[in-house]
Amino acid sequence: MTSDRREMRRISVGALARVEGEGAMRIRVQGTTVEEVALDIYEPPRFFEALLRGRAYTEPPDITARICGICPVAYQTSAVQAIEAACGVEVGPSVQALRRLLYCGEWIQSHALHIYLLHAPDFLGYDSALELAKVVPDVVQRGLTLKKAGNDLMNVVGGRAVHPVNVRVGGFYRAPSAAELETLVEPLQRALEAAEETVRWVGGFTFPDFEHDHEYVALRHASDYPMEAGRMVSDQGLDIAPDAFEDHVEELHVEHSNALHAVLRERGTYMTGPLARYSLDFDRLSPRAQEAAREAGLGTTCRNPFKSIVVRAVETLYAVEEALSLIQRYRAPNPSAVEVEPRAGRGSGWSEAPRGLLYHRYTLAADGTIEEAVITPPTSQNQRAIEADLARFVEAHLDLDDQALTWQCEQAIRNYDPCISCATHFLDLDVERRP
């Protein structure tokens, strides 16, 4: 590759590492102009929305969990809430609290996975956390311990860490006993310290000087930091309930790949995920999480996507605290699930997956048979923002050599913790790759 600025320059990665699923990156620069940026998603389609048709209204929590092994609880939660909405059922506060507790487990394990195993190696110049562990084994082990606390929580409440078995439409098959939850307290207290150390650790990383101007979209709840409930709001004045989602968000077909990109009908590109949640809901974080964020150098909003690793650490700390608080206040729902009778209708539901807003909508026949299913995962919503970030970042860093630029571009993609298995609505199968 020549250093002559007038020449064509190509930056590409055939198979992105340390992301969930299969994707590639392709950037073409002519002189000082970024001509093309594409996050190609070649993950094969599995046609979930099609195979859900004709299934029973009770089945989506188990079936849609299989869209993603890293955020199954997000799928289960959005699915059951959409179906309950279609059937006109509200589950009540004790079931809701247990859902939130399970969701805390998913945030902890998914965020710890991303911070320690997927993203931190970028900042420290390692290929993997396994390499990093040879230098600082205690740090990596701290991350694994934190991750385990999340998985343990999912095991106890959900019955299994990957694809929990205990979630059903209307609530849970079985409510865990207070004594069972009590076994989680000690590991969670240790995790709380590990989470605080994590915020300090990642807060000390060096971040590229970079800001984006995407519209932030996240859930907002009357009192809680958004996780399983809330209205969808944005910093441009959006404020809607789940059944208005499709009025405001559309999925576009773009020319450069077979990708559908979710955009706001009114304003286009937007961004969902930890940075959006943090910036829109900072006041809903616990005092301890707010304080840790301040000490790590964050303000009450954050527009540098490279600092998403710090925000994830703050959210992990919050999720551990919240889990402890929910366990302390726990009253087992009795019955563990409310009866949900099917009826003809349409219902929408959403929740905040670790990597952003996840929307489900189901149309049911009178006997509960699914006639139509619509699923909009977070990575489809963020795909445009990722590409916009790459274009802006490359334009500002053309002085870097190819190796450094490629490294930082991959890092910029990982800022979003993309979940490509989730996002297989949109794909480009024409990408060359290793065997």
């Binding site: 890293i70 993997s128 694809h163 078995v165 559908l260 065997p435």
Partner: protein
Amino acid sequence: MRTNGTDADERRGARPTGAAEGANRRRPRLAVWKFSSCDGCQLTLLDCEEELLALVDRLEVAYFLEASSAVVEGPYDVSLVEGSITTPDERERIQTIRRESATVIAIGACATAGGIQSLRNYADVDTFARMVYAHPEALDVLPTSTPFSSHIDVDLELRGCPIAKEQLLEAVGALLHGRRPNLPTVSVCQSCKRRGIPCVMVSQGVPCMGPITQAGCGALCPAVGRGCYGCFGPAESANVGSLMRWWRDALGMDADASRRALRTFNAAAPAFARSDPFAAGGSAAGGDGSGHHDL
């Protein structure tokens, strides 16, 4: 970046004869590959939080894209393969991996039975594609989702959606020590008995696939009071017809619900897919109509 066939053929001569033998000289090389899947089974490897760092002391992680940017070229001593074959590209890719790997372990329901995406095998994939994509003609997909064993010789299969962490560690541990892994082929019923979980079908009338499903999960579903939904696939000599009759006669379950139960995460497993127990006017295939329940 594709490794073409010629390269792979050249490397064949370097193929080690076995992982255990290789361990005497150097750490066995592990590769982890993803096909059509949710990532949950390879995540199970990273979920071995207490064992992971010890494990990578014993194994060289040569290719594991979800965890590492470092890529070591083959051959590999052990390849863990996740997912099912759903595209022409995947169909070719697994052949290359087979050639480059001394031992291939298929991990999970997708890898051993086609996964939830094998529901397309019972439908028209073009219809599926039109339901989801604006321009389905641009997709390059196969009409079926199939397990690796339909394409290559697989040395070991780990069941489950997802696999059980304990079975993964058992398989890798056995390989490192050059012994056969201890993986049960009995049914989930035995796990329930061992754990003292009352039979949900007998005591609560809840339809349960435990009698025909392979053990390995530890009876997670009956433990929370729900019926097993078969995510570890068929047990050895599973009597599917008998269970279907039991569901119909004792629990009053209709044919559609029973069919859906068989067609989930292991929909292409022969014992679940071989014949439609309800094809002939709603009567269970192989049934003698006597109402005898040979559980």
